[in-house]
């Protein structure tokens, strides 16, 4: 279902060119799977997808932080493999973890970053003043970052990424963990950067609203590859008509018969089951509802809830991936460990351990099965971690449809609250790494490894 992007021969105005990018983690998981993407100069493109879809990995590869296994990547006209330093000079990165130093002042953070880009002193001073003015940080500039609010830290983080006047900037979940007010204010800054400076922006997000409001084009990413790229409007129009969601108390043979009847009588263009929810896409919602209600009465089916809305990006996502964005959650930060574990010393070490310690000692068949078992365990381990946060979210991921704007606001706000909380938790872990949660996590991990290893022997 991949939509072909305007195939332009003229490379000068293409800022990011990715062809069949492949990145395999040491575990064998294809984090990025033949991903192709083009971003034009002055464009804001949002990579929309659930956690674990490969958004962060893609950004890390494009910003030279991670290597890749196959494919071609050009950023700002430079081959990322041959001229990484040229690429580095022309990009700015705002990662998920705020990289600013909390014990330094805002000015010191900015000036250090300027020094690392080898800018002359006077120019650094001038840029600091400009950026502080732009992001309204002038008053706080000489205070330690510790005293900043979450929104201010984000703004400072973006400012440090802009100090050397990059042509392209990568924003990895720029508004994650911000409250709705800071989020909207940040959107305005990002839009302004794009309009006034013509900055090319590639951002990742798992907030539908953000992709919808901020970007010129949206690329829907799932399981490491892109399913669709277009303007948000075109994507939504591609679905056509109205989106109708029926929620049942349970999915049983009666509801099954009902959905088959709907299909046969041509009430819906398309029909999709998601748990006990049935998504219907109809030409004209207002006239379909009575017919559908009548059919439900005829079939003796109880509709617990019915909602009607224009298709949202969530519907687009649902269409391309078969699952709703809401249901494809994974623990935040989990991806982060994969990132680092997938690289360098640790990665190699892990690889060696996997290859030698047990593959050598095992013979053919049992090897495969025990390996599978181990992977299952590891997954179980990660999902166990996720479950604590998932239970938090479960309450918000109510059956409530998020299609109406009012619901959107409320829902998002709740989510912000909870992700703030998660952020805070994570921060706690980062700052006091001896803290319970992280220690426990590591212990479980260690223990599991130990246990698995013992099993092999």
């Amino acid at each position: 279902m991949r939509r072909v992007i305007r195939a332009s021969e003229n490379r000068t105005n293409i800022m990011i060119q990715v062809e069949k990018l492949l990145k395999i983690f040491p575990s064998g998981h294809k984090a990025v799977n033949e991903l192709s993407l083009q971003v034009e100069q002055g464009e804001i493109l949002a990579l929309l997808g659930p956690n674990g879809a490969g958004k962060t990995t893609t950004i890390r590869v494009l910003s030279t932080l991670a290597g890749f296994d196959d494919g071609k990547v050009h950023v700002a006209g430079h081959d990322i493999d041959r001229a990484p330093d040229k690429v580095r000079e022309s990009i700015g990165l705002v990662a998920q973890q705020t990289g600013v130093d909390f014990l330094l002042t805002g000015r010191e953070n900015l000036s250090l970053q300027g020094q690392l880009y080898h800018m002359p002193k006077a120019e650094i001073q001038q840029r600091i003043d400009e950026l502080a003015d732009y992001f309204e940080l002038t008053d706080a500039l000489d205070q330690q970052v510790m005293t900043y609010s979450g929104g201010m830290r984000r703004k400072l983080d973006i400012a440090t990424a802009l100090i050397h006047k990059p042509k392209v900037i990568f924003l990895d979940e720029p508004t994650l963990g911000l409250d709705i007010k800071s989020r909207k204010s940040l959107w305005r800054y990002i839009e302004k950067l794009n309009i006034e400076l013509g900055l090319t922006i590639l951002l990742t997000t798992h907030y539908l609203e953000e992709a919808d409001n901020l970007s010129h084009r949206v690329a829907i990413i799932n399981n490491g590859s892109i399913c669709a790229v277009d303007t948000p409007e075109a994507l939504k129009n591609g679905i056509g008509g109205d989106a109708l969601t029926l929620t049942f108390s349970q999915k049983d043979s009666a509801t099954q018969r009902f959905s088959e009847a709907l299909e046969q009588q041509g009430h819906a263009q398309r029909l999709l089951w998601e748990g006990n929810r049935l998504h219907l896409y109809v030409d004209h919602g207002a006239s379909s509802v009575p017919k559908i209600a009548a059919l439900a009465a005829e079939e003796n089916v109880d509709i617990a809830e019915l909602s009607l809305a224009r298709p949202s990006l969530d519907d687009v996502f649902l269409q391309f991936t078969g699952t709703s964005m809401e249901d494809t959650g994974e623990e935040e930060g989990e991806e982060w460990w994969h990132q680092w574990a997938g690289k360098g010393g640790g990665g190699k070490w892990q690889k060696k351990w996997q290859n030698q310690d047990w593959q050598d000692s095992e013979s053919g068949e049992t090897d495969e099965s025990s390996k599978g078992e181990w992977q299952d365990k590891q997954q179980a381990w990660s999902s166990q971690d996720a479950s604590t946060t998932a239970s938090n979210q479960a309450t918000e991921q109510s059956t409530e449809s998020t299609k109406e704007n009012t619901h959107w606001e409320q829902d998002n706000w709740d989510k912000n609250q909870s992700s703030d909380w998660q952020k805070w938790q994570q921060k706690g872990e980062n700052e006091s790494p001896g803290g319970d949660t992280l220690e426990q996590k590591n212990k479980t991990h260690d223990w599991q490894k130990w246990q698995d290893k013992n099993k092999q022997d």
Partner: protein, 253 residues
Amino acid sequence: MVADTWYLFNKYLKISLRTPLWSLFNLIQPLIWLVIFGQLFRNMAQLPGFPADSYMDFFVPGVLIMTVLFGSSWSGVSLLREITAGSIDKMLVAPISRISIVLSRVLHSAVQVMIQALIILIVAALIGTDIQFDLIPLIGGLLVIFLLGVGFASLSNGFAIILQREEPLVVVGNLMTLPLMFFSTAMVPENFMPQWISFIASINPINYAVEGVRGTMIGPLDTGYFFQGLIVVFIFAAAALTWAVHAFNGLRD
């Protein structure tokens, strides 16, 4: 590369200066050792064949080296913290030499332990140890301390990247410091050691560092021990640093 290292070194220095208590915290353990062991083993100096007039004169170089080990072996922990916080990513995405990131951390740690060692030296002098405050031997001794700091901070950073988690890093850090201390002449002179320990001591770089510092800062000057210590510590530091840089470069596949 030099400029990049300098900028980053400055950053770490600023951070240390803003958390002075944290830096002083590292001094507590060596100070306790100085007092307790100094008292506990005081009578050892009366044994026939003991090479110094008082046990303190003998023990202070050991405490100085201990300060270096305790101080610099945790450099890797803060590296992990910086990776988690995203600071390292911010450096890696800038067009700077990768070496300068490791180098700045290691140099900062070495300078920090050098200052801590100076404080211990002053405390030792105050409680009556026979310390040479002549400039050139003092600089020589500090040079040995500095290089040993570079070596151990490098090892710690390298292990941090390989192990990726703090707990095993702490275990490795402890393993690096304490046993290596006991397998050296930090606390007991060589002629008191069983032969097998004396053999391990002869291949333990810490032993040479202790002897080197003993040769310069405490008692009569002994250039032979000093140069021997300096060369060994220099080779150790160079090897450890090369390894750490190599491990760090491995971060990008």
